[in-house]
């Protein structure tokens, strides 16, 4: 008799963005005359760079001709893309990463979600709180969650509070942990981490033989002097895996391409994690579409770089407008300088969902309740900079009109 994976049953049924979508739909039906401005989900809106579109069309043409057709590609990505990544994202910045330390995939969500396959079930996982829910949910599915409690979360997960008091940075856990998820610039809080602070994590991981899973999906939004890669930090090659994505960097949320870096120096009990992940990937997938990989390669062309920098500047300008507008309207707001996310404190001690309802009802603006990211997200609210400049300005005007004291 088939037995299902009972860990799935333990997961709370509802999913943050599903709940939001339902409330928005209800509001839209009740108020068809109101224009809703969505600043909830972290999804880009600017089109793909022309260089990317042209590269994909050229690749599609190649696939239509016998002479240039390509069947199965290398599971971990074509050499042309792995070389371009190693050169442009690492070597050019003085970071020693080789093409065979790069694994091309269809998304950082896939990779952060599946990386646990190569770890034993009985590792202790540490996550920031608030946090991107995928890190927790995928570990719960694998049996690393324990039991769930509304007030304290999962019994086996170590939560690292990121609050106003800690400047939204996690502190080194007091109990032993084996797998540490870090995301900087952070989702949802939008804050970055300094080299000095990150060095402490690398030192801790090396000392305790823990692995850091470093999600750098938002590194392209860094404007201050902060590390873009964890491998800028001494010792990181022996303790860290880095996840990056073209999604936010180059507008690939619907095109799907990302990569994971696992240095060959990263070994535990004499076993190379690079070799384990290679085995996992070559057994469980067949690589990313050739057409998409050519599109990703074009991101590194001069034209591609120019266009993505313009797009990122556009989103960062939106973030600035949000952060400064909210502050002027009397809110306390964080993030938005090295990130497309602004993390604001709800006024008058409202809960995150109370503020969600109020904001939607009074201004027609959709954001994301901080409590959806964890217990320490309660009392906070995330707004994203991915809407148009016009909508972003209109949203801040509406907020100002309603809230300014």
């Amino acid at each position: 008799m088939l037995k299902i994976n009972e860990n799935f049953i333990k997961l709370p049924q509802s999913y943050l963005f599903v709940d939001i979508a339902r409330k928005v739909q209800q509001f839209a039906e009740a108020h068809p005359e109101k224009t809703i401005i969505k600043m909830g989900i972290g999804d880009v809106t600017k089109p793909l760079p022309k260089a990317v579109v042209e590269a994909m069309k050229k690749a599609a043409d190649e696939m239509g001709q016998a002479e240039t057709f390509r069947g199965y590609g290398p599971e971990n990505g074509y050499a042309f893309l792995r070389e371009a990544i190693a050169e442009n994202d690492y070597r050019k910045h003085g970071i020693d990463i080789a093409p065979d330390e790069i694994f091309v995939s269809d998304g950082a969500k896939s990779d952060t979600g599946s990386i646990g396959d190569i770890f034993a079930v009985d590792n202790v996982v540490a996550v920031c709180d608030p946090v991107y829910p995928v890190y927790i949910d995928t570990n719960v599915m694998a049996g690393r969650g324990g039991e769930y409690n509304d007030q304290t979360g999962w019994s086996k997960i170590v939560y690292m509070p990121c609050t106003e008091e800690t400047n939204f940075l996690p502190e080194i856990p007091k109990e032993p942990v084996d797998v540490i998820y870090l995301c900087f610039p952070n989702n949802p809080s939008g804050v970055g981490i300094t080299r000095e602070a990150l060095q402490q994590w690398v030192d801790y991981a090396n000392e305790h033989q823990a692995v850091i899973l470093y999600d750098a999906a938002y590194e392209a939004f860094i404007t201050e002097d902060l590390p873009h890669s964890i491998y800028e930090i001494e010792g990181a090659h022996t303790c860290a895996i880095e996840f990056r994505s073209f999604s936010k960097t180059a507008g690939f949320t619907g095109t799907r391409c990302a990569f994971t870096v696992i240095p060959k120096a990263l070994q535990f009990q004499g076993v190379s994690l690079n070799a384990l992940w290679n085995r996992r990937q070559s057994t469980k997938m067949n690589g990313v579409s050739y057409v998409v990989q050519r599109g990703a390669e074009a991101v590194y062309s001069p034209e591609g770089q120019k266009e993505i920098q313009e797009n990122i500047a556009y989103y960062l300008n939106n973030a600035k407008i949000i952060r400064e507008g909210l502050t002027a309207a009397g809110f306390t707001a964080y993030g938005g300088v090295n990130s497309p996310y602004v993390w604001l404190k709800t006024p008058d001690g409202m809960t995150s969902w109370e503020f969600f309802d109020l904001l939607l009802e009074k201004t027609g603006i959709v954001g994301t309740p901080g409590s959806g990211f964890g217990l320490n997200g309660e009392g906070f609210f995330r707004l994203t900079a991915f809407n148009t400049l016009e909508n972003t300005k209109a949203a801040i005007q509406r907020i100002t009109d309603y809230f300014r004291k």
Copy 2:
């Protein structure tokens, strides 16, 4: 201290196609004057249909314009593709499958490799022998393998011998099993299964509350009156998951699109596997590239259908030439009628690898040793029909010249 997943260490290091590639490279270096004809890996060679190329280029253009740009898509595929699949692959053939029972993905390898995520670790898995290695390796990684023995295989896996005596069909296991992998038309043997024979498996699974994982990646090659889908069989909706792919059907091995069907009626202990897989997919991935999904949709257009039928007929003609040529040369050959694979018995009691070496050395032809697919593959050899007509004819001529008595 991080503990790795020890199950990975149990997996034998070498991988079938890696070994083959190494031997072929050595031969090529030693005999630069000889032309090698590759009939080993099951990879297509005909270019993508024009309709698919045009659809992908149009979609790439859409992604380059703000008005038509698409960000995150639905994790399980766009409605346009799920509808097209439900209509063309199922309803049109009188099979009741709804769009929300279809999960679009980047490959059947990904789906057959990851489906085990939703099952408990302590299920007993049954596989055909010989078999596509991914079914076994992914279960070993998940802890369902037990210990490996060169002579008997994995201690916890139930092997169902598919031999000349059984017409290469598995027999119902005598011990209880929970998860049954079936692939028809079969890889590697190329044989199909009748409705009557498949009905016995469906009845068994329903009676014992087992799940059948039905890999129908080669259904487009069926020429006789055999089931294209397991859902043609009464009772399959309550016991079977079906995997299909555009890879072999439409030349998508480098373009990457496939789908998995999980009927809502498929429930165990009151839990819907459709709901579990939906949760798994929406937590661990972000869907397939929009551009690729538009390409897959175009497979169902009249022009797309015409082109893929021509390509499949071309490959099937190659298969016929291989099967008939081998038979005329004195070999015993199976498959190749409803499949791009021909499964031949090695002559004079040679082992599969002995025959591999002889064939490469004497004729320059590369095939796949049957022993690479399992203990009962020993003494057999797989040739694929995916090369060009010219190369296929040349290969059979070389074999005939060398082997005909």
